[in-house]
């Protein structure tokens, strides 16, 4: 069925290293959203991308929406321990219902 897939499932990095998570959809998306869930917490909305090829930045975080609007990425430059958590992408699939990817769990070694 239609779904949103994320890779990798887990990523360990040394503090200061970069990190990237990728999101792929089986269908063209009208928008892609990214959420962050800190350990023990709840998902919090980070950003929404709407346009083909769109790039948005939030400090050390760079979000991209693919030209075909079927994939997206989140890149963190020079990770810090505060970046630890699970990052979810989400897009409207099947009946315009927001569907979440499986998430990428980021662990940062100090």
């Amino acid at each position: 069925g239609q779904q949103v897939m994320q890779i990798p499932q887990y990523q360990h990095v040394q503090e200061g290293e970069d990190f990237t998570t990728y999101c792929n959809s089986s269908t063209t998306l009208s928008n892609i959203q990214w959420y962050k869930q800190r350990p023990g917490g709840h998902p919090v909305f980070l950003i929404q991308l709407v346009k083909s090829g769109e790039v948005k930045k939030q400090k050390r975080l760079t979000f991209q929406f693919g030209e075909a609007k079927k994939n997206s990425s989140l890149h963190i430059t020079a990770t810090q321990t505060t970046d630890v958590g699970t990052y979810f992408c989400a897009g409207p699939i099947a009946g315009n219902m927001l569907t979440f990817g499986g998430g990428t769990r980021l662990m940062v070694k100090p």
Partner: protein, 114 residues
Amino acid sequence: SQTIHQWPATLVQPVGSPLSLECTVEGTSNPNLYWYRQAAGRGLQLLFYSVGIGQISSEVPQNLSASRPQDRQFILSSKKLLLSDSGFYLCAWSKLFNRADTQYFGPGTRLTVL
């Protein structure tokens, strides 16, 4: 501003006991409401969503049910809990008439069934 509340924050229940988790939203009218379950270290599984009072859609067959007795109240229930019902239960809301809109999550209820 809008806020979403969930209670209790944590719950330990024996197998076979009933369950009632409550979610309320403040500062908005006619929201879409959602219940998710998250197993430890896993993704978000959509259980139910509601577009209005008394309107419930179930995404997966299970031991749970949901109700929406008031516009901004969403309740998750079970008559008899199973071990497999353990998990982190999250309620979320989004604006009416746009289920693709941003979702705002409550703090969650961590349920352990023993």
